[in-house]
């Protein structure tokens, strides 16, 4: 998604004075509220929101590439799935902490993303071609996973229950434990997104997104900027995949690598606003809410939520090209104007 006027146009040497933006303040407030939410009572929907938060984190990871760089990756299921399989395999087969598995997943995902992007940049695979290119990688992994005995073929990998498991095993006797882990992950992903956005790399990406030839001509190393961004984005996405597999205690090729997973990840970010810190969280919360509400009131029609989602995306493209968060941007502008930003 392209937006106007929210980011600096060119790389600069001088760092602008940092001040907490409205986005960050709202972000902290929302996360604090989310962390405290389960204390207020009903645990009924805790599981749903745990997953929603994991996906908020995953989408934030996607947005590092999909929002900040102007690339449109449509294959983030690749990294999500790698994270999922790595954490499941390390725990189930080697009896090591799934946290370690998550780190392994991050490294593999980042390495793959790096390789993919190096090739893509080298051979000028851009725009819609890049979307299809990334999608193809995810499909290859899906097929690979469903044919490898080591990964349990189409049955996938089960994450076993452990007797007297603790946080080190990512298993909690109290479901609020995992919920808090999800809050933490979403927060981490948003912080990383924000750090990238405000770093020199972020300015370079914004220049590339605005006009790549001009950026390259003014000395931005396009190849390095994009490969680093994709690697980081992949690593952040892999964490979410790992947490998801541990949470549902199971991973299979479709849950990990299906095209619909890639789409889901991208859509949450786009829905909320892919260039905004809060975008993926907003998008994820909105999507989960829609799913829940339609299931509650239209449970005879289980696909109603997808219909609403599809229509919402179409409407968004027409009237709110910056996502739900676009509304926030307008507020932010009013805020910035008052405090005369640098």
């Amino acid at each position: 998604m392209t937006t106007q006027a929210t980011t600096s146009p060119a790389p600069r040497r001088v760092r602008p004075r940092r001040r907490p933006s409205l986005g960050i303040i709202v972000g902290i407030a929302v996360l604090a509220a989310l962390a405290l939410a389960p204390l207020t009572g009903s645990r009924h929907s805790l599981g749903i929101w745990t997953v929603a938060l994991i996906f908020a984190g995953v989408s934030s990871g996607w947005a590092i590439a999909g929002g900040l760089s102007g690339l449109i990756p449509l294959g983030h299921a690749a990294f999500f799935g790698i994270g999922g399989y790595a954490s499941a395999v390390v725990f189930a087969k080697y009896d090591l902490s799934p946290w370690l598995g998550i780190v392994v997943g991050m490294v593999i995902a980042a390495a793959l993303a790096w390789l993919m992007t190096v090739l893509a940049v080298r051979f000028k695979v851009r725009g819609p071609y890049f979307a299809l290119y990334t999608l193809a990688w995810a499909e290859m992994l899906r097929i690979l996973a469903s044919n490898l005995d080591y990964l349990g073929k189409t049955n996938g990998v089960l994450v076993p229950y452990k007797v007297d498991a603790g946080p080190a095993d990512l298993q909690f006797s109290d479901p609020r434990g995992f919920y808090l882990v999800a809050v933490g992950y979403a927060a981490l992903a948003m912080i990383v997104f924000l750090l990238v956005k405000r770093s020199p790399l972020g300015w370079r990406l914004s220049a590339i997104r605005g006009d790549e030839p001009t950026a390259a001509a003014s000395g931005v190393d396009v190849a390095r900027s994009l490969t680093r961004t994709m690697a980081l984005s992949a690593a952040m996405t892999a964490i979410g995949g790992g947490l998801y597999a541990q949470y549902i205690q199971y991973i299979d090729p479709e849950l990990a690598f299906n095209v619909s997973v890639s789409i889901d990840i991208a859509v949450r970010a786009i829905l909320g606003g892919a260039v905004l810190v809060l975008g993926p969280l907003l998008g994820s919360v909105a999507m989960t809410s829609v799913t829940e509400l339609t299931q509650k009131y239209m449970d005879a029609l289980p696909s109603a939520s997808l219909l609403v989602l599809g229509l919402a995306i179409i409407a968004l493209a027409h009237w709110f090209p910056t996502g739900i968060g676009g509304l926030g941007v307008r507020l932010k502008r009013i805020w910035s104007r008052r405090s005369d930003r640098v």
Binding site: P128, A136, I143, V259, L301, S305, L306, L307, L309, P321
Partner: protein, 288 residues
Amino acid sequence: MDWRLVLQSVIGGLFNGSLYGVAAVGLALVFGVAKIVNLAHGAFILLGMYLVYVLHDWTSLDPFLLAFAAILGGLAVGWLVQRGLLARLMATGQDGPLLVTLGLWIAIEAVCAMVFGSNPKTVESSLSDATFSIGPANFYWSRLVVLALAVAFTVGLHWLLQHTDLGRGIRAVSQDTTAAQLMGLSVGGLLAATMALGAAAAFFAGALSATLVPITPGAATNLLLMSFVAAVLGGLGNIKGAFVGGVLIGVVEGVGSLFLPGTMKVFIVFLVFIGFLLFRPEGLRRRA
């Protein structure tokens, strides 16, 4: 190596490939003219499948006959989508159109799931059981009919683009929109015609595959992915190339199945796809 098996796989791949080809033709046309990747293409394929299912249920006519009705359905849907949802966004030159096609994909699949449920539906042609043999290998007649219809559709579309005013207009818009406008061509109308023809190809591909696969809301995904691959192989925007690309993928898949277990043949297809994206993004077509 077993000769019968080789024949079976290669010619079987050719038959499948014609289906990928006809689906890819629509995608390539829309990309070539409107410069957008139509993510809703798979949803159009799905609509073609269900349309044939419904019409068959209603009229009991042979599904291959109904495939022609599906073309009309595709023309109407494509035209409406372009006029109603895409035209305004294309003018802005951002990612809007891509998003709209994504939303359509999700929404149409959801509608199909709501209306038809997730139980597979099947459509039987009167030809469904008849077979013929080439040497030692046996094939269903229906596969040959699919191949013939797919080729006929592609040839017809190609003829339309080459030898009618509509086709010349569409090609003019794809090559230089402003110049076309200055020559008195209605760009909006031609883009709508393009989308209509693209959707017609998708509907037709869906209609043809309705007799071959069980119809479920997710049934078109494979065909969608294969048509992406085929369209890129053919050089996105090139009709003939897209069809040849589709046939090629079918054959690669067929040959792959000789050496690789299960679904690994598709792995080879994607490997080829990535190779093409990297080394020959312009596709099979020779270019200076």
